[in-house]
Symmetry: C2
DNA sequence: CGACAACTTGACGGGCGTCAACCGGAGTGG
DNA sequence: CCACTCCGGTTGACGCCCGTCAAGTTGTCG
């Protein structure tokens, strides 16, 4: 019960940041049929090739999208956190073209794609919000193409840290100079097109330079200006999603 | 005059492939205010940081999107051809987050973003078509992240060729085994995260293996099965846009 | 406290970048 | 009509960043 309300509240908060909603929009969102589910770490939420019937909202925890190359190599194409809607990329397609998997324990809320589509058809402001969210995702994908295509290992990882920190803070997670980095170094490697060994080398180097420090899964940013400089990070591509 | 009709026809054809339109949809599209422009090769159509007021349709010719890294490195994030709408990625944002540039001489048609937005609000089928188009672009971005992140040089280039051939054919350009490859090897390098020198080496190698042959700007595919195998190409991510 | 995943570190090798030279075709101007 | 220029393509030599392999350490959970 209460977790359903949490889910609705999370979605409303997210959409509210993307477009100006009125009360009737908010009550239409509240009327969505929602099923809440607990998911352990590593659970698949969407599988490539399967039909995406329900649309998934991440209420708590972290998840990531990934695709597999023919040789078995895995490429993570985005990370997701509390409040993110994970299936809008599939909203108008029958078949999923990538996988989504939890990275930690998570609570997810499912709602039928049909219901969301209908909401979008009836309510232009909600349609705009959903559409804008998918466009921000697309902008992030483009930045990732640049990241893996044209930056060296140290820069790539620094950039990934900047983006994750910015988004985490926008989602109300972590503090200005400290946030949780829930993924393993192998997952960082799969996101940046590197191996876990080399990710480790670069993280150690950034640590030795005093740019970041690590306490367990937490990252403490010692020098934001330098981290941004190393990363070549400009948050414009996040379009105020952060 | 006639080129305006060409532009409307091209857009209608494109949207028709993305959603089922009726006559009223078609006449609404035909009523869009359109300005047709000739653009020489290398012309910027959209600049990062500028406001995207008008939305651009590519009537003939080729174009590409790109972003610049801090060190001056350029990453091309997509190629575009006849019939593609180039600004839907900016439709709901004030500021462009990447550049779009022609790759050949081109004819482009401009229509106010506002007019398209309004059309989308009034006509759910057109909204679906436009939205679906942006989702396909996003799916292609994800595949490119995989391409530059997890495939070696030869595979990357082969994959890029497969995608371009598939999309060109869907756009009614080229034959089953021969198509124009309008970009320079440096542009191929910027799209695949390689240098033009290495692109050349790989193209020569694919030629020596009999997979492809080149006649000027044209590519002749000698062995489709092998090219697809080398590339690890599966067209599912194009979602029948090809 | 044992098992297992994740992290850490070192040695070595290769794929691709860098630099440099040369070639070939298309456009240009005398 | 030919010489000049320039851009793009082609090829070789060399070196480095990062992958690979392997061993050891730390941390966590049962």
């Amino acid at each position: 019960m209460t977790s359903q309300n949490d889910a609705i509240a999370a979605m409303t908060r997210k959409l509210e940041r993307l477009a100006r909603l009125d009360d009737s929009d908010r009550s239409a969102i509240a009327a969505l049929p929602v099923t809440v589910q607990f998911a352990p770490s590593g659970q698949y939420l969407v599988r490539e090739g399967n039909e995406a019937v329900n649309c998934c909202l991440l209420v708590t925890g972290y998840a990531f999208r990934h695709k597999l190359a023919q040789d078995g190599g895995r490429q993570i194409v985005s990370f997701h956190m509390r409040g993110d809607m994970l299936d809008l990329q599939h909203l108008l397609f029958p078949i999923a073209d990538h996988n989504i998997q939890t990275m930690t324990e998570a609570i997810v809320a499912w709602t039928p794609c049909r219901a969301l589509q209908q909401l979008a058809h009836e309510r232009p402001r909600i349609a705009d919000a959903l559409w804008r969210d998918t466009l921000i995702d697309a902008s992030i994908f483009r930045e990732w193409v640049l990241n893996v295509g044209r930056r060296d290992a140290r820069t790539r990882i620094a950039h990934m840290l900047c983006e994750f920190a910015a988004r985490a803070q926008a989602a109300g997670l972590g503090a200005a100079d400290r946030f949780e980095l829930p993924m393993t170094q192998e997952q960082i490697g799969d996101a940046t097109g590197l191996t876990s060994v080399h990710v480790n080398r670069m993280l150690m180097q950034l640590g030795a330079e005093g740019v970041i420090a690590r306490r367990g899964k937490d990252v403490i940013v010692g020098d934001w200006a330098k981290l941004r400089r190393v990363a070549g990070f400009d948050a414009a591509y996040l379009h105020d999603a952060a």
